[in-house]
């Protein structure tokens, strides 16, 4: 599903931020990506979602070499990836319902065809009563769940979450993790970038990818 081969990333003329990264993410797998601040977790995520190009090496997503993708192919590939950003990236002029429905709208689906799905998902993440609200009046936890719902709505093959429990209390963090585990069980590969050791300890079956000094260490 996702393969990195000898990937290196350098910003400008400095030392490499990521060095010789090699790993493979299988379908229906679950992994935590962790490491100290500045180790390159966000850079690695950006390489996966193709907002950064590697300085060297090969990245293959869903069987496609990302270096050879056109703009249209990149958009098509991204539709198979759900992303939960650390800063949520919700659009403030849209309601929660509209934010969550965005990936389906982008696919060209009519509003009546996805209304039921979106409302179900909003209830599932506990935002059934906040469908009409705009993100500016939501709490941090609500924004987090809205961002997660947006990443899930199109049932992506791969889900990336950058510090998804960074802004929520432990109870909600456990609930969010359960949500990801549920998604994983339904067939989605999940990568969660986190500092939260407690969170990782709650799902010991997950593989751990640890970034340190620009290199990746894998603990099965």
């Amino acid at each position: 599903m996702l393969t990195f081969e000898n990937v290196g990333l350098r910003y400008g003329v400095g030392a490499e931020t990521l060095r010789d990264i090699n790993f493979h993410v299988a379908p229906r797998s679950f992994q935590f990506l962790t490491g100290p601040s500045g180790a390159g977790k966000t850079s690695l995520m950006r390489l996966i979602i193709m907002t950064l190009r590697p300085t060297r090496g090969l990245i293959n997503i869903f069987g496609k070499d990302t270096a050879a993708l056109s703009n249209e192919d990149v958009a098509e590939t991204r539709r198979g990836i759900g992303v939960v950003f650390q800063d949520f990236r919700l659009l403030d002029h849209l309601t929660v319902y509209e934010n969550v429905a965005l990936p389906l709208r982008v696919l060209g689906r009519e509003e009546w065809s996805y209304r039921g799905e979106v409302i179900e998902l909003l209830r599932w993440v506990g935002l059934g009563e906040r469908a009409h609200a705009v993100p500016t009046i939501l709490s941090g936890g609500e924004k987090q769940r809205a961002a997660i719902a947006r990443a899930l709505i199109s049932q992506p093959k791969l889900l990336l979450a950058d510090e998804p429990t960074g802004n929520v209390d432990p109870t909600l963090a456990r609930r969010i993790l359960r949500l990801f585990i549920e998604l994983h069980k339904s067939g989605t590969a999940v990568i969660i970038a986190t500092h939260d050791l407690t969170l990782m300890d709650q799902y010991e079956e997950a593989r751990r990818l640890v970034l340190a000094d620009g290199r990746l260490h894998i603990f099965e």
Partner: protein
């Protein structure tokens, strides 16, 4: 068809739990209205459309009026009988007029009376003068058949044969000058029209670039959720086309109002000297079907141009990003 999702708590048909869904807001625009300098864009487009409609219709009015001037003048010719020593000018005038009336294609040959000829000279020579002693030429005004065109060269030869001191003027030099003037006026109006549209295009381009910069975060999020460049460009195009249509309708409506008012005022002032000159130049300011059609087409064209330009600018920007 019901699609089952893993988050469905009871795995039931989505329509069963859809109560209250109709209260959910439909679809807000992805490019927010207040993120585009909407009012400024509408005002600029309205002014530009108004000016472009004015230029286009002035060109149409002058072109139509010039066709009228030329056809009016082309339906007339003048015979001038000059006083010559040893000849009876009154007899020459009658002979010339008779010869002209006999020629096929001449509908009428009206002799200007001595008093009428003298009246023509009054603006130059003033009132109260006895012009009977002056050797003033006599005029015969011919009305020519527009359907059965007369052969002017043959007419001239015939006139010289019967009255050697008579000269035929078919006004062709004047007609050519009028034609040149009308063509110059139309070309100037066309140039102004093109320049106005170019200025509008520049304004829309700047507004689109500003809108893309303001909405950078929205563009990034749309990219992240898998939107293709064409989808994003279409969202901007929709927003700008709506602004363009609003501005074009305001400008086009203003132009129609302007011409209706001008027509009304032209009718009221028709009897004054200035009014006559204006009417000679532009006709009665009546737009006619072609004028209204031109404004309608122009308004539609402006809206389409605004939409197309914004789409092109956004696509180019996104491709550069990619």
């Amino acid at each position: 068809m019901t699609v089952m999702r893993f988050w469905s708590p009871t795995r039931q048909d989505a329509s069963d739990i859809d109560e209250g869904a109709e209260e959910i807001p439909a679809k807000s625009a992805l490019v927010p209205a207040d993120s585009v300098a909407g009012r400024s864009v509408v005002i600029v487009i309205a002014i530009m459309t108004f000016l472009a409609a004015l230029a286009a219709n002035v060109a149409i009015l002058v072109a139509d009026a010039s066709v009228e001037w030329r056809s009016d003048i082309a339906r007339e010719a003048t015979v001038q009988v000059r006083p010559t020593a040893g000849r009876d000018i009154e007899a020459d005038v009658l002979t010339a007029a008779e010869a002209m009336r006999r020629t096929p294609g001449v509908l009428e040959a009206r002799i200007y009376a001595q008093s009428e000829s003298e009246a023509l000279l009054k603006p130059w020579l003033g009132e109260g003068l006895d012009l009977s002693e002056l050797p003033t030429p006599r005029m015969i005004v011919l009305k020519l058949d527009a359907e059965n065109r007369v052969d002017i060269d043959r007419l001239r030869v015939e006139l010289e044969r019967v009255v050697p001191n008579a000269v035929l003027d078919d006004h062709h030099v004047f007609i050519e000058r009028l034609g040149d003037m009308a063509r110059a006026a139309v070309a100037t109006a066309a140039l102004v029209f093109v320049l106005i549209l170019a200025a509008m295009a520049v304004a829309v381009t700047s507004a689109t670039r500003a809108a893309v910069a303001t909405n950078r975060e929205i563009v990034e999020v749309l990219h992240m959720v898998g939107a293709a460049d064409a989808f994003i460009a279409r969202e901007f195009q929709r927003r700008f086309m709506a602004l363009g249509l609003r501005g074009a309708l305001m400008g086009g409506g203003g132009a129609v109002a302007f011409f209706v008012l001008a027509q009304f005022l032209a009718r009221r002032w028709r009897t004054t000297g200035g009014g006559e000159q204006m009417e000679a130049m532009f006709g009665d300011f009546s737009l006619g079907v072609s004028g209204f059609l031109a404004i309608l087409l122009l308004s539609g064209g402006v809206a389409a141009l605004t939409g197309y330009l914004s789409r092109y600018i956004v696509l180019r920007h996104l491709r550069r990003l990619g």
